[in-house]
Amino acid sequence: MSERFFPDSMPSPMADMITLPWWQHAAEHRLMVQRCGDCGETRLPPSPLCAECRSDAAEWQEVSGRGEVYTFTTVHRPIAAGQPLPTLIAVISLEGSGGRRILSNLVGVEPERVEIGMPVELVWEDMSADLAIPRFRPVEG
């Protein structure tokens, strides 16, 4: 099991047929994005159709997990039992994802150090044997 940052009580994601593969890849510690099989547009989060060319062809590609902070908030009230406070929630622009972003948490950083544009990298947190959540920490050096 990975290093833990959050308690078991954090809400688990709910999936449907379209998004389940994303979570199955995550359980294997692979951050995968969909690319349109016709025009190459990145589809993140997964979707049934390319919103640009309306093709339903898609393939999965792994991305590096590097990115930068697009915006963030420091949360001082818990929604889950045992949630560590403050909790940093951020939007991360992902490298190699055609400008697409992902919502996540920042871990291993003091809130005062966080700024928009800060380079970050992926860190997986295993919540259970079948559920891993991608979180991010600053790139050191």
Partner: protein
């Protein structure tokens, strides 16, 4: 004779802090609000043949129609938006119904008792109850909304104060918007509430220092950046100009209504990290605002008074820019100049105190106040006001109505 849609009556139940109304169920509060609005219009309940609401209102129209003894329910609708963005859209639906002859008299209502169900601020979670992780499986998310929340909730993003902090933070980064601008919004609306007998916070004055000293909830949102959580209900009555002419109450014309969800927006920054870059630090209403001005032949300079949906202060600031009251990025200085203040400002806004200080009835109380403002019945009256802009929740799929009195 014209079928142009007018609002002819407004009404509300008691407004109270969440959890304070324990002896009357939410749907009975909705019934009270509807009865008062119809009485205010000078109509009889037997005249009502339509009901419209929004935001997953628990109080289904068919049951209200039965309780109210309506002779026939010819029109009922619910706006397909989960958030508070649909209030003005519900008024727009009512207007379409009467203008097309689908109905003659439509009551738009919203009942909301957060104390009887759950406080929005908790995200529906119980932070005192430990739970175990759940493995994702197929068909777990029974709606696209829930599947989309799969990409926000594991990070603790279930609290609106945190969600709308994200675009506000980015606005501050891009344009140098100061916390004092957000504070000015909270302080101004509280001052307006001080004259409003319905306002839950009417007796609690607030200074900018009080605002800056209030606890941080989700940076940059302090406690006083966040709207109230309330128990209450309100309603407005929509009918045709032909019908309105015979009524005793002052009528207000619905000059135009619009709904708007920009490309790729879905539920906005709450669950969607991929709102387009040019839209991210906005209320997402600029396109819709352009259509509203275009169809009415009016513009921001024609607005005498505004009721702007204020779930969070930053969302007010970004809407002010969306609707063109100032340029993009200049909302901070515009607001810090005192523009939103009653009497002295160029754009007196939320003359009832808004959701920050009157009550949080999902913004339908802003439509009620828009009508009062044009009838000269507001507790903060704007002399000679002829045009009022009312908006619904921004940074989510939104809507707006432009009201007029000639």
């Amino acid at each position: 004779m014209s079928r142009r849609a007018h609002i002819v009556g407004v009404g509300e139940s008691q407004y109270a802090r969440w959890g304070k109304i324990t002896d009357v169920p939410e749907h009975t509060l909705a019934v009270q609000a509807i009865l008062r609005a119809v009485a205010d219009a000078g109509l009889d309940m037997d005249d009502v043949d339509g009901l419209a609401s929004f935001a997953e209102d628990r109080n289904e129209a068919v049951f209200l129609a039965a309780e109210l003894g309506l002779p026939a329910l010819r029109y009922a609708s619910m706006v397909w938006l989960p958030g508070g963005g649909g209030g003005c859209a519900a008024v727009g639906n009512a207007a379409m119904a009467v203008e097309t002859g689908q109905a003659e008299v439509v009551v738009v209502y919203r009942g909301l008792c957060q104390g009887q169900f759950f406080r929005f601020g908790t995200g529906g979670m119980d932070a005192s109850a430990p739970v175990d992780p759940v493995t994702p499986t197929v068909n777990q998310a029974q709606t696209p909304m829930l599947a989309s929340m799969g990409f926000s909730m594991p990070y603790g993003m279930l609290m609106a104060a945190a969600a709308y902090a994200l675009p506000t933070r980015r606005h501050m980064h891009l344009y140098g918007t100061r916390p004092e601008a957000l504070g000015q919004i909270a302080v101004t609306f509280r001052e307006h509430a001080s004259r409003n007998p319905r306002a839950v916070m009417g007796h609690k004055p607030m200074t900018l220092d009080d605002y800056l000293a209030s606890p941080m909830i989700a940076d940059p949102h302090r406690l006083f950046d966040c709207c109230l959580e309330s128990d209450g209900a309100c309603a407005v009555v929509v009918t045709t100009e032909e019908r309105a002419r015979d009524l005793k109450a002052g009528r207000v014309e619905i000059l135009g209504s619009e709904q708007g969800t920009p490309k790729g927006y879905a539920f906005g920054p709450f669950t969607n990290a991929n709102v387009a870059d040019e839209l991210y630090a906005t209320g997402g209403c600029e396109e819709m605002a352009g259509r509203l001005w275009g169809k009415t032949g009016l513009g921001p300079a024609d607005v005498d008074v505004a009721q702007i949906y204020d779930h969070f202060t930053g969302c007010v600031l970004m809407q002010i820019e969306d609707y063109g009251f100032c340029k993009r990025g200049e909302g901070g200085p515009f607001i810090e100049s005192g523009a939103l203040a009653w009497k002295t400002g160029s754009l007196p806004t939320n003359t009832h105190g808004g959701s920050l200080s009157e009550a949080y009835i999902h913004g339908l109380n802003h439509v009620v106040e828009g009508v009062r403002a044009l009838r000269g019945e507001s507790s903060s009256p704007v002399d000679g006001a002829e045009v009022c802009l009312v908006t619904s929740g921004a940074c989510v799929p939104s809507s707006a109505v432009l009201l007029g009195r000639r």
